[in-house]
Symmetry: C2
Subunit: 341 residues, 2 copies
DNA sequence: CTGAAAGCGCTTACAG
DNA sequence: CTGAAAGCGCTTACAG
């Protein structure tokens, strides 16, 4: 069953393909096509079940109406939620989205950008890995519509939307300190990314300001590709070795999940014996324990803002030079206190 | 910065575009192009940073190397996990994937299929809603490569991969009955889909076989678009009104999440006062409570099998008529007993 | 061994 | 008011 083309319609209607095109694109005014002819053509198109071939349109117009979404791991709640909102926003302006996961694999990440470029996506939405810096810089210099999410490259003038990680962490530390917690551990993942550095920095700064010495051994860094069981094991040992811990700050929900398992294994009550705060991408801890305080990332807001920044770039068009400043949008993280931590 | 085309390379190399195309596509043998010329052309292409325009390739060859993935909700762990595996499998054969969520909205679902068709996707991977039946049937009759996942249409001969819901539910019920649980509730979501019917059916049949009367009031059906708080509230009331409940079987993790919250609210211990079994798409209950038994869906296996079925259709090509039978693949669900429920 | 030509399905000036 | 022509960037017979 061959696809119906504009030519088939033209043939049946006894007009030229260009006339059909004009009618179907609502250019009857510009082309001064009679309403009578137009509605006849429309009728025929509908009868034949015409579906425009978007590949042809894309080739001709240079617009694919496809967005490229590159995240760390689409199966992770945070990124999946981002993807959902982005899909909705994209849909509302007639765009579809192609997704890719990088797994924080630099090689893969670069290859993904290349592939999406070849697929001629009209714009990129990326949660970049450190190794993508050069690639991102190149895209930006080519004026490819592009927005970074969740992370960014200090020094690169590329539109991005991130939460204020420093501020969020500080808020949480403040909260713990006010409640008189003193021996606060920091469990994180070994990842060379701005937001991780900022969280760590805020943790240390908060302690210093409160006059509490920063103890190296109160910080645990798990390797990135650490297996679940091993992560749990390491955190368990970490807690056992540091008797007298008041509280633990988990820098990401990746480690938070394992941390909670470790705490459960050790039979410690939250917040009775150990207060827990976690930088939470989403609301996955809702059920685990109501006594866990959350530094919550506004996923929907991040995605929506990112889409707005992207659309703004579309509107500018390739012609207009981009404003020199980067459209930095900092959205403070929100502290959600579920119980008297 | 204009994109480099095959023409630019041809110009620089002093050959015809078709020669460049042949070289870049490794058709040097068929076209009997000298290795010398070939490597010179390849060198120039590399120097110029040539990136083939896939839109043009797609239009010319009729293959976009894009797959359309339609799920209920990409932000749900189950579908996000499916998406992840599908991405990996697709990537391994040079495909990208366009995703869409239906939200179980029939209108939207149909529109999604239309859009993806217009985008000329080479194949579809769909977790269908009941209302997509006609659309799916049409796609299949057009020999569009297509695989349904997680659900299917009895009577439609369309390749699909689903877990054996009846069997899985039965296994779980068997487990409860052996442990001498007698008043077992069934909490589900109001959804007109085969897999839901099968789970319900298995629940009732299991009771009957065990000589236990099926009580209407031990079954709770929540509306599909029920708000979180309201769902929790309803389940809470349901439990309170049915004193003497032994166990609850949650037919999906959608309701399971709310159910656990309700149980927590009521201060009931698991499995002490109430045994809990849940049909779990993924492993999201791992931390909630180790005492929850899970009927686990093999997400990775579903996705991989689906991709295999799709590839098989690609290989057949449009020419060969499809084998009349549907490639039904039933993969039994797995019972994961975490504690002595 | 290599190149000229046609064509995938559209849209966009442009000519009448 | 409407149509013929060119062209988006490729690939694929086909001619030499």
């Amino acid at each position: 069953m061959k696809n119906i083309t504009i030519k088939d319609i033209a043939l049946k209607a006894g007009v030229a393909p260009s006339t059909v095109s004009a009618v179907l694109n609502g250019k009857t005014r510009e082309s001064r096509i009679s309403e009578q002819l137009a509605s006849r053509v429309r009728g025929i198109a509908a009868d034949m079940g015409y579906q425009p071939n978007q590949t042809a349109v894309a080739l001709r117009t240079g617009k694919t109406r496809v967005l490229g979404l590159i995240v760390e791991d689409i199966s992770n709640v945070f990124f999946a939620s981002l993807a959902k909102i982005i899909e909705e926003e994209a849909d509302s302006i007639g765009y579809k989205v192609l997704y890719c996961s990088t797994e924080n694999n630099e090689e893969k990440a670069r290859e993904r950008i290349r592939m999406l470029s070849q697929r001629q996506v009209d714009g990129f939405l990326i949660t970049p890995t450190p190794g993508m810096r050069a690639e991102i810089d190149r895209l930006a210099s080519q004026h490819k519509p592009l927005v970074l999410m969740d992370r960014y490259f200090p020094g690169l003038s590329v539109p991005h939307v991130v939460v204020d990680n420093y501020d969020g962490t500080q808020m949480a530390m403040q909260h713990l300190l006010e409640k008189r917690y003193r021996r606060i551990a920091f469990v994180t993942i070994l990842l060379d990314q701005v937001q991780m550095h900022q969280r760590r920095q805020a943790y240390e700064d908060s302690l210093r300001v409160a006059g509490i010495p920063v103890e190296e051994n109160l910080v645990l860094q798990l390797p990135y590709h650490c297996k679940p069981e091993e992560s749990v094991q390491q955190i368990r040992e970490f807690i056992s070795e540091n008797q007298g811990l008041d509280a633990i700050f988990f820098a990401t929900n990746y480690v938070g999940v394992y941390g909670l398992e470790a705490i459960k294994d050790l039979g410690l009550s939250i917040p009775g014996q150990l207060a827990v705060i976690c930088f939470d991408d989403h609301d996955i801890f809702r059920l685990y324990s109501p006594a866990i305080t959350i530094v919550k990332q506004p996923v929907a807001l991040i995605a929506q803002t990112a889409m707005q920044l992207l659309i703004r770039q579309f509107e500018k068009g390739a012609g207009t030079p981009r404003s020199s400043g980067s459209f930095q949008v900092l959205q403070p993280a929100q502290l959600v206190i579920r119980a008297s931590t």
